[in-house]
Amino acid sequence: MGAALQNLDYFAFVILFCIGLHTLVARPNLLKKLLGLNIMETAVFAFIVTSGMVDGGAAPIVDGTVTGPFASPLPQALILTGIVVAVSISALALALIIEIYRQCGTIEADELKGVG
């Protein structure tokens, strides 16, 4: 249990992921589902960036002034690409939601099931 408490950060990110997942699954409004998806994505990004951090480590910029331990640059590069992909997903999802509203008049998933 003592060892598990050190991973408090990871537990918080898992909780955030579950909040996002619950929003995605349980709320019928399509815009709310998209916000839940964004929360899930940022929770995963935070988890991966935290896995690359070092206690007392500096940002990975090697310009000769810092000689201490550096945070790992690999997860950060991965997450930069991930953030760009997340904004692309959000943009396309929002465009589709606008089009669904124009065609069907509603963006609640319960009412959309009845539309032919």
């Binding site: 060892a3 598990a4 050190q6 991973n7 950060d9 990871y10 537990f11 898992v14 992921f17 579950c18 997942l21 619950h22 699954v25 349980a26 935290t50 896995s51 690359g52 951090m53 070092v54 206690d55 480590g57 940002a59 990975p60 910029i61 090697v62 310009d63 331990p69 550096f70 790992s72 640059p73 690999l74 950060q76 590069a77 991965l78 930069l80 690409t81 760009v84 992909v85 904004v87 692309s88 997903i89 943009a91 396309l92 929002l94 465009a95 589709l96 606008i98 089009e99 124009r102 065609q103």
Partner: protein
């Protein structure tokens, strides 16, 4: 019933995640395998091999340049898809009807016009200093794109007369993939692999020039794409 199903789905996802996360080495532990076996090599050899003091930019544009190529293609494809979806239907208003205007407050307009040059300089600086300081192509591109969106709101120019004229905007949006294609073919000629960088200490200037071109392409492409996403989603 539905709430029970939703709770079961979340529990089914949460319990394995908690169990898995509890077994990981503590965050910040410098002796974890992620740091001693993988990252140490890139931190030590990164500046020498890529020429970028910002190791994250070095990883993005040198070691994992293919992934960055994919990223610019993804955001370009998103713009193409958004344009395709949103330009299908009839316009939201009948022709001849003016768009419902919300007056921009004079305070907002004044502040935006006052700070716009400084934001532009900051955005360009973030792009150009990407390999020396925190920053890079996409960060500066988003800053410039947000500035263009603000100016569009303040001057009231929508899709009919956008801030970037339409023929030029097509090429600017494609600046990211185009820059990668040009630098990639150049790298093919230099080093034998697509996006390969010339090796050796004498090619420092060439490597820096290639990275700068990639960053400029990503930045300008990102700015144009963000402005166009805003204009498309705002409608007419």
């Amino acid at each position: 019933m539905k709430r029970l199903l939703a709770a079961m789905v979340v529990a089914a996802a949460a319990i394995p995640m908690f169990a898995g996360v509890a077994g990981l080495p503590a965050p910040g532990d410098a002796g974890a395998p992620a740091h001693t076996r993988v990252a140490a090599r890139y931190v030590e050899a990164g500046v020498r091999e890529t020429g970028a003091q910002n190791l994250v930019t070095g990883v993005l544009l040198n070691y994992r340049a293919y992934d960055t190529f994919g990223e610019v293609m993804v955001i370009f494809a998103a713009l193409a898809a958004v344009s395709a979806v949103l330009s299908r239907g009839p316009p939201a208003r009948r022709p001849g009807e003016a768009r419902p205007q919300v007056e921009t407050s004079p305070v907002v307009a004044f502040v935006i016009r006052l700070t716009a040059p400084f934001i532009a300089i900051f955005g360009v600086m973030v792009i150009l200093k990407g390999h020396l300081a925190p920053g890079g192509g996409f960060q500066g591109g988003v800053i410039l794109g947000a500035l263009l969106v603000l100016l569009s709101v303040v001057t009231g120019r929508g899709l009919e007369r956008p801030l970037l004229p339409a023929p030029a905007a097509r090429w600017l949006q494609a600046a990211g993939p185009l820059a990668f294609a040009v630098v990639g073919l150049f790298g093919l000629a230099c080093a034998g692999t697509l996006l390969g960088y010339p090796a050796g200490p004498g090619a420092d200037m060439l490597r820096a020039a290639m990275m700068l071109m990639l960053e400029l392409g990503i930045g300008i492409g990102g700015a144009a794409i963000i402005l166009w996403l805003f204009l498309q989603m705002r409608g007419e």
